[in-house]
């Protein structure tokens, strides 16, 4: 990910100056954030978000988890100013979410890539670059770097209407990164991507975090969230049900896991005996299984390295 062309360096300072309460380590803050959808006559239709209090720190990957209709997208839309809160506040970089200036440092990938289908990839990125008031030279460099980064160089002059869903997601991500944002909001980032694309997307999210950027993503694909997120919030019917670090939330404190290599079946009995001696109970001893994702990725990589050869697993069982 190319980050050599920051849009404007003085922005954090300016924001700090304009808001004395602004803590640069808190990128996103929701205070009692509530959203009620109403019909034309003002009658309450649905309470999409209920008094959400949240702080997202600089440099973390934050996941919003929940089933459909739990308020994940509503939260993101409130943070972006696409929706106005019924009560409470949403602050981004210490500024109210409805302020346009905050968008200078934000990148947003919507749930579906709502892009103009009649533009080519190059035109799309150039257009969004213009919206950031980028000079032509900078714009051109960033457009080329991002198209290469998301692997669409071969299709950069094709209209988006000819793109597959995965390709559209990639260009959607590229447009979210056009301004080298400090905060990236990703709505279902892996939806529509094949396993390879999913892995690349996840790698890219981690890479962004490593560059010091803050990523907020919402998803209902739990594995993806588990793989990349540092902290998560679980929402259900508009209410915050759980909030914390992924590793501590998933840790099963009363179970122990030992990973060993090169043991024979006879050694299993010794292990069982040792566990029994310490008053423990063996829940199972087995060979660990690779994930289907790892298997799929291995096959694809091998096929890329040796075109024309049928790949086979080490134990001799082929597909």
């Amino acid at each position: 990910m190319s980050t050599d062309t920051p849009v404007k360096d003085d922005k954090p300072r300016r924001l700090e100056q304009s808001n004395p309460d602004y803590d640069p380590n808190i990128v996103v803050e929701a205070q009692n954030l509530t959203k009620v959808y109403r019909d034309f006559w003002g009658r309450q239709k649905v309470r999409a978000l209920q008094a959400l209090d949240l702080e997202i720190k600089k440099g973390e990957i934050f996941g919003l988890l929940g089933p459909n209709g739990s308020g994940k997208s509503t939260t993101i839309k409130l943070l972006l100013g696409l929706l106005f809160p019924t009560s409470g506040r949403a602050l981004v970089f210490g500024k109210d979410a409805s302020e346009v200036s905050k968008n200078e440092r934000i990148g947003y990938l919507p749930e579906e890539s709502y892009l103009y289908k009649f533009l080519t990839a190059e035109e799309t990125l150039d257009f969004y670059g213009r919206l950031f008031d980028m000079p032509a030279k900078v714009r051109k460099e960033r457009v080329n770097a991002l198209i290469e980064k998301v692997g669409l160089t071969w299709a950069k002059r094709r209209q988006l209407k000819e793109y597959s869903k995965g390709m559209t997601r990639r260009i959607g991500l590229a447009q979210a990164l056009i301004n080298d944002p400090d905060l990236i909001l990703l709505d279902e980032p892996t939806s529509g991507l094949d396993p390879l694309g999913t892995r690349e997307m996840k790698d890219m999210i981690i890479e962004l975090r490593d560059q010091g950027k803050t990523v907020v993503m919402c998803s209902h694909l739990l594995a993806d969230v588990q793989d990349v997120c540092d902290r998560i919030a679980i929402l259900y019917q508009g209410e915050l049900k759980e909030l914390g670090r992924v590793d501590s939330l998933l840790k099963v404190s009363d179970e122990t896991q030992v990973l060993a290599k090169g043991l024979t079946p006879e050694a299993y009995d010794d292990i069982r005996a040792a566990v029994a001696k310490h008053g423990g109970e063996v829940l199972g001893i087995d060979n660990p299984k690779s994930t289907l994702e790892d298997l799929f990725l291995d096959i694809v990589r091998e096929s890329q390295a040796r075109p024309g050869h049928r790949t086979s697993r080490a134990d001799g069982s082929s597909d």
Binding site: G42, L83, V100, Y114, L131, F132
Partner: protein
């Protein structure tokens, strides 16, 4: 041509700006009030105050933060989007189809084919371009919101101003390009449709013309020929008409003015009394035009060559008076002339007296305050054009036209001490329904009158150097027939200066359409920030209708109409009371009248909010061949800018305060 307004930009702009300021202030107050009411429902009355204050306080940084690059980016996107919709293509296809087949239905041989052609292309272009402007602008933003493509725009540092102005610019640029193309094609269509050539049937030789019987003075088609025609011939039938070509005998005394155009002279001989006898070939005008004649050779070998049509494609430059003043039979000033009953109110009438009261003092004074030789091209003959209405109280000899007269008077600064010039009356026959031209000699016989009314000197005086020495001139129009009336309006009598370039005038006419188009696009974009696409279209159409009929609606709301306003009228309909019946006084009637006043007041206000398209419509100028003066153009452009500005602000606040996502 009916001209009711004679705008002067510098005089217009001051009150215009005040009106704009008034509307802006009223709009701002109304907007704040409505915003507060809506916010109160959503957030409660106290929080609403902060919400409204926040929106207002953010408007200024938003205005300063507006970036031309972002506006251009959105404009470019709008152009691409509109191109993709193919509305432009369809519009152009309809236009091209109309021109391709429209020519079949236009009669180039009618009385004024140029009017028919120009009218056709102008109205066609206007209708199509306004419709197209409305379609591309009304659907764009609602579609963006529906498709959610707007999400990726508003989450960038894009101000609502940029979204609104960018769209107006983009659609405006595209529609301008299309309009320019349509204007060029229209011009070519009119030009090609009307240009044609004739030849003389059978032989081009003058000697082959047939003789005119001096007794009957009829052509071989039985038409009356010119009084001095001695031979005639006919041209070929082209573009639905043919002309009669006549060889006329033009006898002039040696001290008389000799013909300026010598190209159509076949022979020139000296008569027995020393007078010069010219034999000239002329083409009798048909279908609103004639052709230039060139004679090649002399005597029996002389042949006639007819040039292209002349008389079409005029852009007359009228020098109007600065005001018209009517006087009644007693000579008292009168605003609208003599009342001749329920006639069209555009013209005022002057009467010619009657046998019982022959000395009517009724007249119409046209006051020129800048009557200068430089304005009228320093010519010796000044063409005075008139299009008069006639109101006859008896038919009499229907062939006989009503007689009128004009007279020139100087306007001394101090009539009590300064002498004044007064010309002799120039008597003419009125030619109603047509523009008639009186060639006025610069040297006018008349007299110099002392302040006490006595004649100091009689003689021939110069219109510019004597009569209008102080650049002020009074033209007096009278009716000279008993019991007949001549109707006239300010725009009906004018001196004609050198014509403007026709093509330049043609494009000025299209500039008027451009102004209307830009206002429609701005309306479409602005309304679509808070309305759905079909409702936006409906709102734009309603505003357009109000705009086109602004003068009518305004008159309707300002005049006291018998039968009351809409509610009272409905009441009268239901209770079967006619317009003249006085309603019983009481609370009900008062309530009805007050409600009507409120409705009529609202309608009147609406006419000030809706663009007055009549001020941007120059179709009549082109159709009737008048130059569009720069003052009118400036007013139209200023109005367009004002509306685009106002509508952009409306669009900004509506887009800023609406939730983009649902």
């Amino acid at each position: 041509m009916v001209v009711e307004e004679f705008p002067n930009f510098l005089e217009w702009v001051g009150p215009g700006l005040l009106l704009l300021l008034g509307i802006s202030v009223a709009g701002a107050i109304l907007g704040i009030f409505l915003g507060y009411v809506v916010a109160s429902f959503k957030h409660g009355p106290f929080e609403a105050f902060y919400v409204v204050a926040k929106v207002i306080s953010e408007a200024i940084p938003d205005a300063f933060g507006t970036s031309p690059r972002r506006i251009l980016a959105i404009a470019r996107l709008s152009i691409k989007e509109a191109m993709r919709r193919r509305v432009i293509l369809v519009t152009f296809a309809i236009f091209a189809g109309a021109l391709l087949f429209g020519g079949w239905f236009m009669n180039a041989g009618s009385d004024n084919p140029d009017q028919i052609y120009v009218n056709f292309v102008l109205w066609g272009t206007q209708l199509l371009i306004l419709l197209m402007g409305m379609l591309i602008s009304a659907f764009s933003l609602p579609e963006d919101i529906k498709n959610k493509t707007i999400y990726t725009i508003v989450t960038k540092p894009v101000r609502a101003t940029e979204i609104v102005i960018g769209r107006i610019f983009g659609f405006g640029a595209l529609a301008t390009a299309l309009l320019a193309l349509m204007a060029l094609i229209s011009f070519a269509f009119v030009w090609r449709g009307l240009s044609h050539d004739h030849e003389i049937v059978d032989s081009q030789k003058v000697s082959a013309f047939y003789d005119i019987d001096p007794e009957t003075r009829l052509s071989n088609r039985g038409k009356r020929v010119s009084p001095n025609a001695i031979k005639a011939a006919e041209t070929t039938f082209e573009s639905g008409h043919r002309h009669r070509v006549e060889l006329v005998e033009d006898i002039r005394k040696p001290d008389e003015k000799q013909p300026e155009d010598t190209s159509n002279i076949v022979s020139q001989t000296i008569g027995p009394d020393g007078q010069i006898i010219y034999h000239r070939v002329i083409v009798i005008p048909t279908a609103g035009h004639t052709h230039r004649v060139t004679i090649n050779g002399t005597g029996d070998d002389a042949t006639v060559e007819l040039g292209p049509a002349t008389g079409y494609f005029r852009a007359r430059v009228p020098v109007y008076s600065d005001g018209i003043q009517f006087f009644d039979r007693q000579g008292a000033p009168n605003k609208r002339g003599i009342d001749v009953g329920k006639e069209w109110g555009y013209r005022g009438y002057v009467d010619g007296g009657s046998r019982l009261a022959p000395n009517s003092l009724s007249k119409a004074d046209f006051m020129f305050s800048d009557f200068d030789a430089s304005v009228l091209g320093d010519e010796t003959i000044l063409p005075l054009e008139m299009s008069l209405g006639v109101f006859r109280t008896y038919k009499g000899d229907i062939e006989k036209r009503v007689i009128g007269s004009i007279q020139f008077e100087s306007v001394p600064e101090d009539p009590a001490s300064q002498n004044r010039f007064q010309s002799d009356s120039i008597v003419f026959e009125t030619n109603e329904f047509q523009i008639q031209t009186l060639p006025i000699s610069r040297k006018q016989p008349g007299r110099l009158i002392a302040p006490d009314g006595s004649t100091i000197e009689q003689g021939v005086f110069d219109l510019f150097d004597d009569y209008a020495k102080n650049k002020k001139l009074n033209l007096v129009l009278r009716c000279e027939d008993y019991n007949q009336y001549i109707g006239v309006a300010r725009a009906d009598v004018y001196f004609r200066a050198t014509d403007d370039l026709y093509w330049a005038n043609f494009f000025k006419g299209y500039l008027g359409i451009w102004c209307q188009m830009m206002v429609v696009i701005a309306m479409g974009v602005s309304f679509s920030t808070f309305l759905s696409a079909p409702i936006t279209m409906l709102a734009t159409i309603v505003t357009m209708i109000v705009g086109f009929f602004t003068p009518f609606i305004r008159t309707m709301t300002q005049e006291d109409v018998a039968g009351g306003g809409p509610i009272e009228s409905l009441f009268r309909l239901v209770t079967q009371k006619n317009m003249e019946v006085t309603l019983e006084t009481g609370i009900g009637t008062t309530l009805m009248e007050q409600s009507d006043n409120l409705l009529v007041g609202g309608l009147s206000t609406l006419t000030y909010l809706a663009p007055n398209f009549a001020q941007m419509n120059f179709a009549d100028f082109l159709t009737y061949g008048y130059s569009i003066d720069s003052q009118r153009l400036l007013v139209a452009i200023a109005l367009t800018l004002a509306f685009c500005f106002g509508l952009s602000i409306l669009g900004y606040f509506c887009l800023k305060t609406r939730e983009i996502a649902k």
